[in-house]
Amino acid sequence: MTISDSAYVRRFFSLYSQEEKDKVRGHAFYPTDYLSALLPTEVAYVGVVRSPYAGAKFTKIDDSKIKDIPQMLRVITARDIPRNASFGSRAALGQLILAENQVRYRGEPVALVVAASPEALQKGLKAVEIDWEPDAVSKNKREQTQTFHHKSGKAGSEKFASISLKFQFPSLQTRYLESESGWVEYHDEKLTFHIGSLLSESQRIWLAQVLDIENSKIFAKESPLGGQFGGRQQRELIVFLALAAYLTKLSVCLHFSPTEQDIGSYGYQGELSVSYDARTKKLLELKGKISIDAGSYAGNAGLVLQKTMEHASSLYDFKHIDLEGEVVLTSTHPRRSLKGEGLTAITWVTEQLVESAAKALEISPLEFRSANLRSSGAEHSDLVLQEVEKLEKPFRLLPIDRNKPIWDEKEIVGKGFGFQVFQPLTLKEFDQSEVSIELLHSGTFLIRTSNLTLDLHAKSALCEVAANVLHTHPKAFTVEGKMKEEVGKAARRETYPEFYYLAQATWNAANLLKKKLLAAGEKALNASEVILKEGAVVDQGMNRKMGYRELAFTHADHDVQVSFTLTDVGQPHGCSAGAVSRVSFHPLTGEMRVESVKVVLDAGPVFYQKGLEIQVETAVSWAMAALFSSEVSSEQPIPTPLDGPEEVTLFTLPYPIKDYSEEQPDFFGSRGITDVLMSVVLASLVNAIRDARGLELEEIPMPLEFMYPKKKHQTVHMLNFKR
């Protein structure tokens, strides 16, 4: 088909991708769907035998009884693993994949059972006998492994007024626990994973080392849907699948119920004190001790504790800081730096102390904060503070009307503030980020990245960045991780530290492609004839310029693919945030309600505004989960944003994003946004509760007595009742 150069070439695209259409109709498949109905029949089932004791030795794993069970295939113990070492830093601490002769925590994996059917697997798991010697001493273990000291400035000789607060912040659990499942295909000594998310390069290398095989024998099939509930990467899940498949030479599947998983953050406790000069109204000293409960293995607890101590002073200019920190090992499940890397655990303490000092000095908490702002390392914090002040001015809390009866009176109300700044202090080691963009014949742009662990939010954000540069809709893009056959660096990092660099690389690649497409378009428009690809719709009635996507339907003899490798990066933008929350308590029932949360955020130039809004919602629900029910065994329902206030408002500081469209931007948004948001929302809620109740909150989750104050003992006499 040939038309003249003035023709308008276009194709009607459906705005929605097939993936979205499937999801909304319930036709999309997830890993659990495979386990329910879609698995090939020859797949075997793996189960995990876990320790029932926290701290115990065992002498023997007796699998003699299970040999008689029909359809039983194999029992795998530590002796069968070529290199029995856990992932990442925990391997250096001695954590094993399967315990060898002792366990440190309840639920530690000891053996794997592989069977041909789920029924046989259940019988097999019950039939494995282990000779346990429980150790009563290690059950209540509390061992100090590392100590740190964070000091700056000099202590004054004079004595000033001071306020101190003991605090306790328990391990914050992943509240959205869902079953996790996946399967591995074994074919020709190669393993292909079908799990909720992609394997990262580092995980692939680790699995290859564990099995003592080449990296190239491990593949991952990208799940187009993420996982179930967003998808998480379960290290236990992938290594157990790999071991069972490799040792039995069969395709295997594994299902973890929520009770088998324990993903919690480090727990914190200690005491902080703040001293201030009542005359000059200046903050002077921050002192205290923080200890971090790492569980059975320290992991990166030391690094997280250092970060916690560095951020304990928040955005305030203390003349003297003296903090001591210790990492403590206990007999609980190994912990992680989940949600907040210590910022959440410490911000509410400092902010409560600062608010108390302002109250003691009888000045406005915002005014007191403004007067004590740090000048360096907290760029734009003053702007955040000013914005919060602006937000607050039109509102005043109405005093209780004493003339009304109390049951007509609405509630006791309180408001509180919370602030924090997160500045990555040092630039971490950076190898490179590679992004390529291709315009396919279907009219879709395909973005391939060197990072394999991109989640849905990260993918959406990259689409948004490229769509901004190419002036088209984000739905025109598909993002996929590119599997590298050879991996140069073993220590390839996970998604989040690298994500902002990928955004930069995407921006650059999109700009390169834009130039290429402009040249190709110009060539096509100046040509005497244009050859259309099959499927193109021609509308000669409209005189419209050819868009980038329409180029895909012309006879493209030109190359419409570009690749950009980012090798050099600058210091990422710091993130400052402030929040003001309102809570109310019913005077009779004591019921607490979060009325509103308003957040001001300075996150640098962020393309993906929707992502930020989701992060604020998430931050509010996480803060509420921390406040009311952080323990996984709790019977409390899981708080979601729907349990939060009706009004959650996000204000972002404006950045002239257009300025960045012509030259390479040095950053795209700051790092650790959710952590900072969560920490300020939690601090503001705590301060609002404190304002309403007039009590200091020392413990999270908030004790019930705090919500429902003890009343006078009352005896109720019931009248005899006869029907």
């Binding site: 979205e20 109709r25 959205y176 993420g226």
Partner: protein
């Protein structure tokens, strides 16, 4: 035990243990995978179905309990060549990320709109409270359901929903 019930408008006679969970029967035996298996304890709402027009968690219902009942899953809600108004609203509001919670939300949202064609935002929030979404956030879902809801009587001249 033989259970006589109806699934997505079709009468069925199933020989099944009365203690088998409805969710397992739907997913493993009938291969209807629209109701998702999240928490298995009624916390996440991913397995929501209708039983006699009322929303219910399929993971908490046993087959014995649905004898003589009418069950509808997301597959029964789907129309052949078009989306339902709420499905379309979810698409236009970009209320989908990983999509695992979406079938449940669509079931609850549609049931709510059948019950009350113009629910307020608060009612929509209350209705969605039994559903967990870990990646999208809830605002866009609320927007989607609100978008399908009829305007209150005082706002429009006539309360009429245009169906294609």
């Amino acid at each position: 035990m033989i259970i006589e019930w109806s699934l997505n408008g079709r009468p069925l006679r199933s020989e099944v243990s009365p203690f088998r969970r409805l969710l397992d029967y739907l997913r493993s035996d009938l291969k209807l995978l629209g109701a998702k298996e999240g928490c298995r304890e009624g916390k996440c709402g991913a397995c929501t179905v209708w039983i006699d027009g009322q929303v219910a968690n399929a993971c908490l219902k046993l087959m014995g309990q649905i004898d003589g009942k009418e069950v509808t899953t997301i597959e029964g809600l789907n129309e052949k060549e078009r989306f339902t108004p709420l499905q379309e609203a979810f698409l236009t509001c970009s209320a989908i990320e990983c999509g695992f919670c979406i079938p449940g939300m669509i079931m609850t949202g549609t049931a709510l709109l059948h019950q009350d064609p113009n629910p307020g935002r608060l009612e929509i929030r209350e209705a969605l409270k039994g559903h967990l979404c870990a990646c999208t956030g809830y605002q866009k879902m609320l927007d989607a359901i609100e978008g399908v809801a009829l305007p209150p009587a005082s706002e429009g001249q006539a309360r009429m929903r245009i169906r294609r």
